[in-house]
Assembly symmetry: C2
Homo-oligomer: 347 residues x 2
Amino acid sequence: MTFFPECPLPLDEYPRVLLAHGGGGRLTQNLIERVLLPSFDNPFLAPLHDGALLDVDGGRLAFTTDSYVVQPPFFPGGDIGRLAVFGTANDLAMCGARPLYLSCSLIIEEGLPMEDLWRVIVSMKEAAVEAGVQVVTGDSKVVERGKGDGVFINTAGIGAVLSGLDVGSQRVQPGDEIVLSGSLGRHGIAIMALREGLSLDAAIESDSAPVFPLVEALVDEGIDIHMLRDPTRGGVSSSLNEIAGKSGAGIVIEESRLPVGPEVQGVCEILGLDPLYVANEGNFLAFVGAGQGERAVEVLRGYSLGREAVVIGRAVEEHPGVVIMKTLIGGERIVDVMSGEQLPRIC
Amino acid sequence: MTFFPECPLPLDEYPRVLLAHGGGGRLTQNLIERVLLPSFDNPFLAPLHDGALLDVDGGRLAFTTDSYVVQPPFFPGGDIGRLAVFGTANDLAMCGARPLYLSCSLIIEEGLPMEDLWRVIVSMKEAAVEAGVQVVTGDSKVVERGKGDGVFINTAGIGAVLSGLDVGSQRVQPGDEIVLSGSLGRHGIAIMALREGLSLDAAIESDSAPVFPLVEALVDEGIDIHMLRDPTRGGVSSSLNEIAGKSGAGIVIEESRLPVGPEVQGVCEILGLDPLYVANEGNFLAFVGAGQGERAVEVLRGYSLGREAVVIGRAVEEHPGVVIMKTLIGGERIVDVMSGEQLPRIC
């Protein structure tokens, strides 16, 4: 190597990686957009957040990966194994693809109870059946005590893009209606309530679930889908900001339309969290053609997972790249990207 | 869930995961073959160690994954980033596939010097160019100090199976000649010498390198390849035992033919290691049709990476499933699977 390029992040400002570089907010965005993406610059990386679209041997495939480090690994409504299967299957669905095959790679900390590992594996197996995918290849590594944390799981996935479907931020345009398929923040709040030891009347369950059937139903109904995105780490606010930034469209959402369950709302108030920034694992945002939002909602409500679907806003020509919320009291405020590490290791 | 299946490993014997479950020896084999493989039982998992062969939209693809936890992350001849790119590209090559696309997922420990992360990313970028692959999708997570170890990297890969090529343990048959494309143990010994702080006249460099061009050359030359395998974790002994076990063939290798460099031999003697059990990252085993071994060697020696290629033995009808070595002093001994955690975190 004759020339070593300079790090695009100023090292005097960020000499070390911080937890916030993984929290889904502004520092995460910095790391991804300034360090990682430019390094591997190629036409596949740009258009979608959740995966790459590839033409291989005549087929159009989606390819995606995620590592799961959620803490604690077992929680109401799921566990790290279900999350690892559904999360990656959902990323494929967000590429407009039918999830087909997953890989599974484990990094296990020495001393993990074998029974915990077994619970996770059984859970992945069941989740794979539920999501209609096959785990076809894998790997396992063990690191010393204190060099890991129980178990980390990576899943990568391959899916087949649905015929005629073309989603990407470049297709977002003013007039698009923004549909949210389920209520906000259930995954993040399930984890946070558990971590904080909150004693609730009824445990809040993670919404962790496979969303592909809902995407397919929209396609079958002829809805013109321009963009899909599952608002996981960083929540709906981060997803919308990213889409606004990439597409150059402005986005307006209406607070009165945001579906937030009373239990989630209650815990958010106790912990000082905004549900717009909390991670979801079983819903998605769909940008659909002007005038198609209500029909999309109707389709989604035919599914138990989509029964809270709602149009939350639209893309506009004004304030390009910026997300604005019309508040309950009739004002407007900018919905910004989260700036700290509100919820580390949420997925 | 109404019925929770019992763990196939006796929990009283193995209540917790041990380092040896990741070292590439017998316990690793137990974990993979008794816990992981049966859980995800499907026709894709069985035939190959290194990846799955998939028919997607008319194309025949290979799909593989590996997580890299090597310690230390920077070593003579490479680093964790190069390893993550070449290792997964090589697994695709071992499926008989041209490596095309990689995913990259990072699990970073809070506090990692940003400069180290940057070095790893730059190294991955250069390695991807060298291996002819594109990194098309990725993920990054950050875990708290003391819950990780610098950086762990997962890469999954997609390759296109070379036309007419069909490799798998089911194709191994008595009479096959076994070609090894390069000398033994350089990766593992480079890491171990560094860890043990051995002061050597010249640092031993890892052999980490992309092997696909050598596989392609064999195919272009019309060599009938029955099985390919890169002897990484657990070394040549583990790979041969696995192939013998799966194919039901017996295997005989000749000690006099094993290529071991004098520096590697020296360090092995100091550390009490057997080069047959030490990890490699830039060579591979090819089982080729009877009578084709020497021609394969000739082809491989046309490449700088293959200049030490040699026929090390053959598959036989006798002692099915067992690997025998004819020793230098004219005896025979069984080459068994490694039983402990000789070399943890070697890749």
